[in-house]
């Protein structure tokens, strides 16, 4: 199942995405948005974020610098 997303996009990002499509690096804007979202989600997994926060707490309490 696909879902529809309405979002405001800064003009510069919009222009860059349009250029990618016009140059043939992506077939359409939907592909650009899907790929960007997929990459963002891959690198911002909640388990990673939480582990970094736990590291921060440990460092804040007991670090040496």
């Amino acid at each position: 199942m696909n879902n529809t997303l309405n979002a405001e996009i800064p003009n510069q990002l919009w222009q860059q995405a349009q250029t990618l499509v016009q140059q043939g690096w992506a077939s359409n804007l939907q592909e650009v948005v899907n790929e960007a979202l997929r990459r963002y989600l891959e690198s911002h997994q909640d388990v990673l974020t939480e582990s970094y926060i736990q590291d921060d707490v440990k460092w804040g309490l007991h670090g040496e610098d």
């Binding site: 690198s43 909640d46 921060d56 460092w59 804040g60 309490l61 610098d65």
Partner: protein, 173 residues
């Protein structure tokens, strides 16, 4: 007061903005200097210009560096912004081993380059260890994060953190 004057750090926009939202940028005051990449400076200036005017923190604006192939490759892999890219490059060129950032992808990229990273929460908690802030103040600041800042943390995780540090500091009250 314990001083770490020898320490230089590089800052991403997140901690500068979030700490200023809490009026707590002074937790960086014991660092000799905080190097701020040009792209980060511009980002903070856009969202939180007053953060760049604090006299008790030595923020030093850096010119835009030439980004190395290594950092370029990591930027693509981790979809890093300009500021994060410049911050990693500055760490390399200035041999700085601490990047302050709240961005998970930037932390992942830094880790792959053996650069330590810490975020807003760690810096706030550290300020007690460095005797810059009292534990009660920092507990109040941690509790104020959801209301006063644009830093997003799962509420139950934040509550766990607050309970954990309160337990550690209970002898200090």
């Amino acid at each position: 007061m314990a001083k770490t004057n020898h320490l230089l750090i590089v800052a991403d926009a997140g901690p500068l903005i979030h700490l200023d939202e809490l009026s707590a940028l002074d937790v960086l005051s014991d660092y000799a200097a905080v190097l701020v990449p040009n792209a980060v400076w511009l980002e903070v200036h856009q969202h939180r210009p007053q953060a760049l005017l604090k006299i008790n923190v030595k923020l030093i604006r850096q010119t835009t560096p030439l980004v190395s192939d290594k950092v370029k490759a990591l930027s693509v892999l981790y979809t890093l912004h300009h500021g994060e890219r410049e911050a990693l490059e500055l760490c390399l060129t200035h041999s700085v081993n601490l990047l302050i950032t709240d961005d998970t992808a930037a932390r992942l990229a830094a880790k792959s380059m053996n650069i330590a990273t810490h975020g807003t929460l760690g810096l706030l908690i550290r300020s007690v260890r460095q005797q810059l802030r009292h534990p009660s103040e920092v507990l109040a600041l941690l509790a104020a994060i959801p209301e006063q800042t644009t830093l997003h943390i799962r509420p139950s995780l934040l509550n766990e953190v607050i309970a954990q540090v309160a337990e550690e500091w209970k002898s200090k009250f």
